[in-house]
Symmetry: none
Subunit: 267 residues, 2 copies
DNA sequence: CAATGTATTTCGGAA
DNA sequence: TTCCGAAGTACATTG
């Protein structure tokens, strides 16, 4: 017995009809195809784009995604996301690959095809990645001093539906403090969010002493200016510091979590 | 005479040494290479990742970017951005491709190579795209009725980077209108941006009649609620409509642009 | 399904 | 060069 499976099948300098057939056949079997040749590309959908004639690598993947790569750059110059319906046909000596997905459509016309290869690939390995996280908010809930001394947390759902979570607290002088956390360097949009929230809160309560604090590892210059001009505050909050606190309080956390659930039931 | 240039050079089932040589040779000539085969990948840098053995397509581009693609998904499962130094060598029957770029490094080990192809591609076409946020704004500048009848535009810098507010105008009753454009469906963050700007403007000028308009192709539910609750308005603005207007006014545009530059010099 | 945040974000333009 | 925000962002996760 030899190999049953042919991982790569090559078609060198195929005719237009043969090329179209190969692509359609692969698509029907849910196999990926790569095409090397001279093509032009047009796209209509979220925007419109035209890419004139040039030599490129086109990848039709088994999930319907379609990538047009030039010989430089990380990103494809044109593409369709997964889920597109892909068709190929021969048209007066050219190969036309078209893809549709909702209101988006893309069309690749190959004037010359150097190579087509169908891929019957096996790849079920999982992709393992380590080293990302941001549960700064939980850390602050358990150790409010990370933000400032004397802070008492009012809202404290440390159910991590990570999302922009505004924490409400009282400072040492009894003023309401709205805290917004960001795991990444704070941008203008983050400041806008805090401005919008605080301004709504002030409009509702007529309370003048409401403070707004943006807590993040860093903040860019424009954002900082906007923040200060708006009478709000920045607090540098290091991710590693938060993680250390979290580690330290981990046992307490699970215990408290249990107690709170008990409280809920008794309420 | 015949063709001088060979756009694609194929090496079918190459030996490990031959494969490594081909890759190194291509790299030295600044040519892209694609490799089909069985590989495993590890990456160290911004995070750490391991990808176990599987059949994949690897692209080494002429700018030093390195992409590992599976047969599904838009994104490469592993990659190095442009600017990496790429090396290839044969190591006890395997081909090892390594890439370094600052503190980042990636290593692809091919246990079996089905195909290597070096690409000597020509592709100097420009990529033209239409339908961006900036173009929506330009369209409204030339045809304010796209937003509402009687609107007069105050600020009208054509290719100004956005950042603050997109457009200031007066409505038919003389009220100040702040308009923010979004080419994509409007989200909460976009509403926040408008709230923040309008609230600052109101605080500064004590003017009560300031209107805020968010102009976008659509708006999601949460964003709409926030918008309305904040006393602001939504205006559906179709991308294609804007493009048609732009086409119509294109000659006028370049002329006006020229005149404005002239004004700057005379000022 | 919609909405929200993350990304080894990448990419381009302006300060 | 650095900074900053858009992207045809894609993608996972959670309500």
């Amino acid at each position: 017995m030899g190999e049953q499976r042919e991982a790569v099948r090559l078609f060198n300098n195929p005719g237009a009809q043969e090329c179209a057939d190969v692509i359609m056949s692969a698509a029907s079997k849910r196999r990926a195809v790569i095409v090397l040749g001279v093509c032009e590309v047009s796209y209509r959908g979220r925007t419109s784009s035209e890419l004139a004639r040039g030599e490129r690598l086109v990848i039709v993947k088994e999930d319907g995604s379609l990538l047009v790569h030039r010989t430089w750059g990380y990103k494809p110059v044109n593409y369709m996301p997964p889920g597109a319906m892909v068709y190929a046909k021969s048209d007066s000596g050219s190969v036309v690959i078209s893809a549709k997905r909702g209101s988006e459509s893309m069309r690749v016309v190959f004037h010359k095809v150097y190579l087509v290869a169908t891929l019957n690939f096996r790849d079920d390995s999982s992709f393992e990645q380590k080293g990302t996280e941001a549960q700064m908010r939980d850390a602050v809930v358990f150790y409010p001093e990370l933000v400032e001394k004397g802070l008492r947390v009012l809202t404290h759902e440390f159910q991590v539906k990570s999302g922009f979570v505004d924490l409400m607290a009282l400072d040492s002088r009894g003023r309401l403090v709205v805290i917004e956390f960001k795991a990444n360097p704070a941008k203008t949009a983050d400041v806008n969010q805090l401005i919008a929230y605080v301004s709504r809160l002030r409009a509702l309560s007529k309370e003048r002493g409401i403070r707004g604090v943006l807590a993040a590892p860093s903040i860019n210059k424009a954002a900082r200016k906007l923040l200060v001009d708006s009478g709000l505050e920045f607090k540098r909050l290091d991710k590693d510091e938060c993680l250390r606190v979290l580690e330290e309080f981990k046992p307490t956390m699970s215990l408290l979590s249990f107690i709170e659930k008990g409280d809920e039931h008794s309420a």
